[in-house]
């Protein structure tokens, strides 16, 4: 049973490697349009900047709290420093991912 599961997963993996389904299928057809609407769309850039900027504030505060608590915990018990450091890096990467979701939303707002 596990052999067929592995074969199915590998076949799916290979198919996805060879045929990437377009995530922006609607946008590919518009690639030849001139940028006629560029003049009246200053709001898009403003929205994109605000989206990315305000989200990064939250991420900064969050990762700062993680760092400070990790330093406190390591100062209390230095022999646990390695495990605390690994947990800190992991959690910081997850929170940074959330801030980057907002940056991606900013990209989409700014150019589409």
């Amino acid at each position: 049973m596990t052999k067929y599961v592995k074969m199915a997963a590998f076949a799916l993996f290979a198919m996805l490697l060879l045929d990437q389904a377009s995530a922006f299928a609607a946008g590919a057809g518009d690639g030849a349009l001139a940028a006629a609407a560029a003049a009246a769309s200053w709001g898009k850039g403003l929205g994109a900047g605000l989206a990315a900027g305000i989200a990064v504030v939250g991420a900064g505060v969050g990762i700062g709290m993680i760092g400070s608590n990790a330093c406190n915990a390591t100062a209390r018990q230095p022999e646990m420093g390695g495990k605390i450091f690994v947990n800190m890096i992991l959690t910081a990467a997850l929170i940074e991912g959330v801030a980057l979701f907002a940056v991606v939303v900013g990209f989409l707002m700014g150019t589409a």
Partner: protein, 324 residues
């Protein structure tokens, strides 16, 4: 979309350096991705896969325990790449995956998770090698076209490729959950066992069910977007720093040296950060897939985890002692 126009324009924009470029126009018979034909990031991915296909079986055959005719020599791993890979795999398995998933699921899913990890790691690291810029230089001095590049770019900075990886993770998570819990048990698991509690909690069950069902689909998409955004963000930052001297006016004297120097030093330091982010994001993708797989197991499996808390691979006691 305007993104594509920015890439093909005359100006070098930071975003233009990150986007896909078409290599040759095959869109009559092959319609893939945003570009609609074979793109340079796709070719880079194929090259990365070929590198992995040649390296990894050799590494694995050296790590594996050999025939018993060699005596005790068979346990030694020879070769530098094999030793690096062995250290990485052992560390990830013993200190990251076994505490999360338990012994048996780790052994079952370790090939899949390690394939995911090394694939994403190779894709991320290939993006840091300046293949496209070398080809730009060759093109500029060879025939005057400084946009020439066939291979180059980070494959994982393409949302299509990361969504594909997330789809593979999603399929594996669902396979595990349907095998462990069954279809009915899977739906019960989505209610977080609220139906077994006091009767007044039954009002919350629809809300919890909808949220958990959405979470089943959103979590792999978040994996894809996290990897994609980290890779794109890093390369856009690098391109922005390196394009800063392009905004200098034509001053005489050495006034431009300062900007160029600072731009170069900052680019080197940011590249170090990018190498770290490459490893970290590959690890995060694999680790979160493992966590999502383990969330879909039976909860009575957690009793087995208690026996692993008393010692880990380094022999240190892992439950915290009160400070004396």
């Amino acid at each position: 979309m305007n993104l594509l126009l920015a890439a093909s324009g005359e100006k070098h924009t930071p975003l233009g350096h990150v986007l896909d470029k078409s290599v040759f126009d095959a869109s009559e018979w092959l319609n893939v991705g945003e570009i609609g034909s074979v793109s340079s990031q796709m070719l880079t991915m194929i090259i990365g896969v070929i590198i992995l296909l040649f390296l990894m079986p050799r590494v694995a055959s050296r790590i594996a325990t050999g025939a018993s005719s060699e005596g005790n020599e068979r346990y030694i791993t020879k070769g530098r790449l094999s030793q690096v890979v062995e250290v990485m795999v052992l560390y990830l398995r013993d200190t990251m995956l076994v505490p999360v998933m338990g012994e048996k699921p780790t052994r079952k899913y370790l090939p899949f998770l390690m394939s995911l990890f090394f694939f994403i790691l190779t894709m991320n690291l290939i993006g840091l090698v300046p293949l496209a810029d070398v080809q730009n230089i060759i093109g500029k001095f060879g025939w005057g076209d400084d946009h020439f590049s066939v291979i180059g770019g980070t494959p994982t900075s393409n949302i299509n490729i990361t969504i594909g990886l997330a789809l593979v993770s999603f399929v594996m998570i669902q396979i595990h959950s349907f095998r462990e819990l069954g279809v009915v048990g899977f739906l019960e698991h989505l209610t977080c066992d609220l139906t077994k509690g006091p009767k007044f909690l039954w009002l919350v069950v629809p809300v919890i069910f909808v949220v958990e069902l959405a979470g089943v689909f959103i979590k792999p998409i978040a994996l894809a977007i996290r990897l994609f955004a980290n890779m794109v963000g890093g390369h856009v930052l690098l391109a922005t720093l390196l394009l800063l001297p392009g905004f200098l006016p034509d001053l005489t004297g050495g006034a431009q040296i300062g900007v160029i120097l600072i731009s170069a030093i900052a680019a080197v330091l940011i590249t170090f950060l990018e190498v770290f982010v490459a490893f970290l994001q590959a690890f995060i993708f694999m680790f979160l897939t493992a966590v999502f797989i383990s969330l879909m197991s039976h909860h009575d499996d957690h009793e087995e985890h208690e026996s692993h808390e008393s010692h880990d691979a380094h022999g240190q006691v892992s439950d915290l002692q009160p400070a004396h």
